[in-house]
C-alpha cells in the first residue's frame, strides 16, 4: 500500500508538468486548429523567466566594507544586491530566496506577450496551410527559440533552488497514518502538484464561467457561426494562444527547482506532451489533463524496482507503449471528440 501511494505521488509532479503542457497544446489545437511544435520551447522559456528574475534580483553593486578586512588588512569589497538597499538586508534576502515563486508574476505578462506575438506574427499565416506545414514551421521556431536561449544562457543547466522554506522533504506516510519513514516526499513536488491543480482549475473555470470563456467555447465548437454573430473571434483566440503560452510558461517556472533548466528541456517535454495529447484525445481538454496525470503515474509505477525486475527497461518505453496501444485500439484517444482530426 505504502509503495503504491509513493509511486502515485512520484508520478504526480511529472504528470502535472505533462498535464499543463498538454492542456496548453490542446487549447491551441482546439481554438486555432494549429499543431504547435514550439510549445515545449514555451515551457522552456517559462523556466528561463525564473532564471532571469533570480538574476535580476541579484544584480549588485560593489561596496567597500570597512568592518571586514582581507588578509592584507585592506577594507574588503563586497557585492551588495540592490534589493538590499531598497528593502533592507533581511527582506532583500527573502525576496531573493523567493525568486522562483515571484517569477510567476513576472512570467505571466512575458509569456502572454510572447504567445500573442507568436500567434499574430507567425501562426496566423498558417491557418489555411496543411497540418504538416504547421508542424514544420513551429518545429523551426522551436529550434530558433532554443538556440536563442542557448546563446544567452549557455548550454549548461542552471540550478534555480526553491525557497528555503520548501526545501527538504516531509513524512507523508506519518501524516496519513501509515508507518513513519515509508513515504517521504519533497515539499516542492507537492507544491508543484497543488499549483498545477490550481492552474488547471483556473483555466477550466475561466472557460466555463466567464462570458469570454463561453465565447471561446462557442468558437471552438463552430467558429463560423460565432463570426456571423458579429463577434471578433480571432482576437479572442489570439488571447487564448497567449493564455496557453502562459500555462506552459508557468509550468516551466515552477518546474525549475525540480529540474535545473537547460535549453533543450522544452524538446524533451514536447515529445512526451504530444504523446499525452494524442492519448487524451486531440482537442479534449479534460482528456489532456487526465492523460497527463495518468501517464506520469504509469511512468513512475514502471520504474519501480519490482516491475523492472520482471520487465527491464519498461520505465523508458511505457509512455510510448501506452500511446501505441491507445492509438490502435481507441483511435480518438481517451476522451477525443468525434470529428476532430479524423481524416
Amino acid at each position: 500500500m505504502e509503495a503504491i501511494i509513493l509511486q502515485i505521488l512520484n508520478g504526480l509532479d511529472k504528470g502535472s508538468a505533462y498535464a499543463l503542457i498538454a492542456l496548453g497544446l490542446t487549447l491551441i489545437f482546439g481554438t486555432l486548429g494549429v499543431v504547435n511544435f514550439a510549445h515545449g520551447a514555451l515551457f522552456m522559456i517559462g523556466a528561463f523567466c525564473a532564471v532571469t528574475l533570480s538574476r535580476i534580483l541579484t544584480i549588485s553593486h560593489t561596496v567597500v566594507d570597512e568592518t571586514q578586512k582581507d588578509f592584507l588588512g585592506n577594507p574588503l569589497k563586497v557585492d551588495v544586491p540592490y534589493v538590499y538597499d531598497w528593502f533592507g538586508e533581511a527582506a532583500g534576502n527573502t525576496i531573493i530566496d523567493w525568486a522562483v515563486p515571484l517569477s510567476i508574476l513576472f512570467a505571466i505578462p512575458v509569456m502572454i506577450a510572447i504567445g500573442v506575438i507568436m500567434e499574430r506574427g507567425l501562426i496566423k499565416h498558417f491557418y489555411k496551410r496543411p497540418h504538416a506545414d504547421q508542424i514544420l514551421v513551429t518545429f523551426g521556431l522551436a529550434i530558433v527559440l532554443q538556440e536563442i536561449i542557448k546563446y544567452y544562457y549557455g548550454a549548461n543547466p542552471i540550478p534555480t533552488p526553491a525557497p528555503a522554506a520548501f526545501k527538504g522533504s516531509f513524512d507523508f506516510g506519518a501524516m496519513m497514518g501509515f508507518d513513519p519513514n515509508t513515504i517521504i516526499y519533497p515539499y516542492w513536488r507537492i507544491i508543484y502538484f497543488a499549483f498545477a491543480a490550481v492552474i488547471i482549475g483556473a483555466v477550466f473555470a475561466f472557460l466555463q464561467f466567464t462570458t469570454f470563456g463561453m465565447v471561446v467555447r462557442a468558437g471552438m465548437a463552430d467558429r463560423e457561426t460565432v463570426q456571423l454573430l458579429g463577434i471578433n473571434i480571432d482576437r479572442r483566440f489570439t488571447l487564448m494562444f497567449g493564455i496557453a503560452a502562459a500555462v506552459a510558461g508557468l509550468a516551466g517556472v515552477m518546474y525549475t527547482p525540480i529540474n535545473s533548466p537547460n535549453y533543450h528541456m522544452g524538446m524533451d517535454f514536447l515529445v512526451l506532451s504530444f504523446v499525452v495529447v494524442v492519448v487524451g484525445g486531440m482537442g479534449s481538454l479534460p482528456g489532456a489533463v487526465a492523460a497527463g496525470f495518468l501517464l506520469g503515474i504509469l511512468e513512475s509505477f514502471a520504474s519501480m524496482r519490482e516491475v523492472l525486475a520482471v520487465l527491464p527497461g519498461l520505465n523508458q518505453i511505457i509512455i510510448y507503449l501506452v500511446a501505441i496501444i491507445i492509438l490502435l485500439t481507441r483511435p480518438r484517444g481517451l476522451m477525443g471528440r468525434k470529428g476532430v482530426m479524423e481524416d
Binding site: 529550434i143 530558433v144 524538446m267 523508458q316 483511435p331
Partner: protein, 399 residues
C-alpha cells in the same frame, strides 16, 4: 537511356558528374589560404554528403510522394547501423554483406513499424512513428545493451570472431574494406597550392547514392509512384475508386526505411562505430529539415538539402569570433566589433540558429524548398531574356 526520359537522364548524368568531381568542386580554395576553411572536399564530410543524401532521398519517397510525415526515420538508420556493425563483428570486415544485411534488417523493422503506424494518418501517424523511434532509442540505450552496447556503442574489436576473415595479424586493427580495398584509404592529388583528396569510401558511397538516386527516379516515374501521389492528393477519392491505399503507402514506407538502413550501413562502412544517439528523434527531425530545405517531392531537392545542412553543420560551425575579426578587420574598430557581435550568434556553436531561421523562412516563403527557389530565379532571368529578345514590345503569349 536506362528507361529514363531525356530530362531525367540528364539530371542523373549531372548528379553523377557532380559526385565524381566532388573532390574538385568542393575544394575551390587553395590549401592554407584564408578561404580554405570553406573547403568541404575532405573525405569525412563528402561521405556524409552522399550518405545523408541517400537518407533524404528515401525519406522523400515517403513524405514527398505520399505526404505521410514520419518523425521516426532515424530509427531505421540506427537499426541498419547496428545490423551492419554486427555483420562486421561476426562475419567479415568486407562492407558488402554489412550493407546488404543493414538494408534487409531495416526493411523488416520498417515493415513492422509501418504496418502498425499506417493504420492512422496525419498527425497521428507522425506521433506513432515518433513513439516507435523514441522507444527504439530508449531500448537501445538501456535494455538492449548486450546487442547495442548501450552508451558506449559498438565498434569492431580485435578478438571478434569474423568467421570469413580469419584471425588478424598480431597488433593489426580491423578496418572496413571492400575486398581488401580499405574504406579509409585515400589518394591525394597536389595541383599547385590545391590538394584534392580521393577517398575510396566516398566513391563507394557515391556509387551507391547514384544507384539509390536512379531507383528513386524510376519510382517517381512509375505507375507505383503515380499511385503514391494519388494518396497524397486525395486518399478518399482513391478509396472510392475501389483501391486500398494501405499496400502502396506501406510499400513506400518500407522502401524509405530500407533507404535509411542503407544509409546506416554505409555510415558504419565509413566509420566503424555505432551509438544509440543516431536514433534520437532530433536525428529524425534532421532528415525532415533536409527534405524540406531542398524541396519535398522533387528528385534532386533532398540531396541538395542534405548537402546544404551538412555543409552548414561542418563549415559554419567552425567559424569562431577570431576568424570573424580577421574578416572584418578592414572596418573601423568600433564598427568591426559591432558587426562581429551582430553576426556571432549565427555562426560557430550557434549554427543551429541559422539553420532554424533558414528552415522557417523556407517553410513560410518557399514551400518548394531550394529547388523552387532555383526555378523562380531561373524564371525571373528567363523572362528578362525574353523581354530583351522582343524589344518592340510584342510578346508572344506564354505557353
Amino acid at each position: 537511356m536506362f528507361g529514363l526520359d531525356k530530362k531525367d537522364f540528364r539530371l542523373l548524368l549531372l548528379v553523377a558528374v557532380l559526385v565524381a568531381l566532388a573532390p574538385f568542386i568542393l575544394n575551390p580554395f587553395p590549401e592554407g589560404s584564408g578561404m580554405a576553411q570553406f573547403n568541404a572536399g575532405y573525405p569525412d564530410l563528402m561521405q556524409r554528403f552522399v550518405i545523408f543524401g541517400i537518407f533524404a532521398i528515401g525519406f522523400n519517397i515517403l513524405f514527398g510522394l505520399t505526404g505521410y510525415l514520419s518523425f521516426g526515420h532515424a530509427a531505421f538508420l540506427g537499426v541498419g547501423s547496428y545490423a551492419a556493425i554486427w555483420m562486421m563483428k561476426l562475419l567479415t570486415m568486407n562492407v558488402i554483406p554489412a550493407i546488404i544485411v543493414s538494408v534487409i534488417v531495416a526493411g523488416i523493422f520498417s515493415l513492422a513499424v509501418g504496418w502498425i503506424s499506417l493504420r492512422r494518418s496525419g498527425i497521428y501517424f507522425s506521433i506513432l512513428t515518433l513513439a516507435f523511434a523514441q522507444m527504439s532509442y530508449s531500448l537501445a540505450y538501456s535494455v538492449l545493451t548486450p546487442i547495442t552496447g548501450g552508451e558506449t556503442g559498438l565498434q569492431p574489436k580485435v578478438n571478434d570472431p569474423r568467421i570469413l576473415d580469419g584471425t588478424l595479424a598480431n597488433g593489426a586493427t580491423p578496418k572496413a574494406n571492400l575486398f581488401g580495398l580499405e574504406m579509409g584509404s585515400s589518394f591525394n592529388l597536389d595541383v599547385g597550392a590545391w590538394v584534392f583528396t580521393f577517398n575510396v569510401g566516398y566513391y563507394l558511397a557515391g556509387i551507391v547514392m547514384l544507384l539509390a538516386f536512379y531507383l528513386s527516379i524510376r519510382i517517381f516515374r512509375s505507375p507505383f509512384g503515380m499511385m503514391l501521389r494519388a494518396v497524397k492528393s486525395n486518399q478518399q477519392r482513391l478509396n472510392y475508386t475501389g483501391l486500398n491505399a494501405k499496400p502502396y503507402t506501406l510499400a513506400a514506407f518500407v522502401i524509405s526505411g530500407m533507404y535509411a538502413g542503407l544509409a546506416g550501413g554505409l555510415m558504419v562502412a565509413m566509420d566503424t562505430q555505432v551509438g544509440a544517439e543516431r536514433m534520437f528523434w532530433t536525428a529524425s527531425g534532421e532528415v525532415v529539415l533536409m527534405s524540406i530545405l531542398g524541396g519535398v517531392g522533387t528528385l534532386i531537392g533532398p540531396v541538395l538539402g542534405a548537402g546544404a545542412i551538412k555543409y552548414m553543420e561542418n563549415i559554419l560551425s567552425k567559424i569562431n569570433s577570431d576568424i570573424l575579426h580577421t574578416w572584418f578587420a578592414f572596418l573601423p574598430d568600433g564598427l568591426e566589433d559591432f558587426v562581429v557581435t551582430l553576426i556571432y550568434p549565427f555562426i560557430g556553436k550557434g549554427w543551429h540558429l541559422t539553420l532554424g531561421l533558414i528552415f522557417m523562412l523556407v517553410v513560410i516563403f518557399l514551400p518548394g524548398g531550394l529547388v523552387e527557389g532555383g526555378q523562380r530565379v531561373a524564371r525571373l532571368f528567363g523572362r528578362k531574356k525574353k523581354s530583351t529578345d522582343t524589344p518592340d514590345g510584342k510578346t508572344t503569349p506564354a505557353e
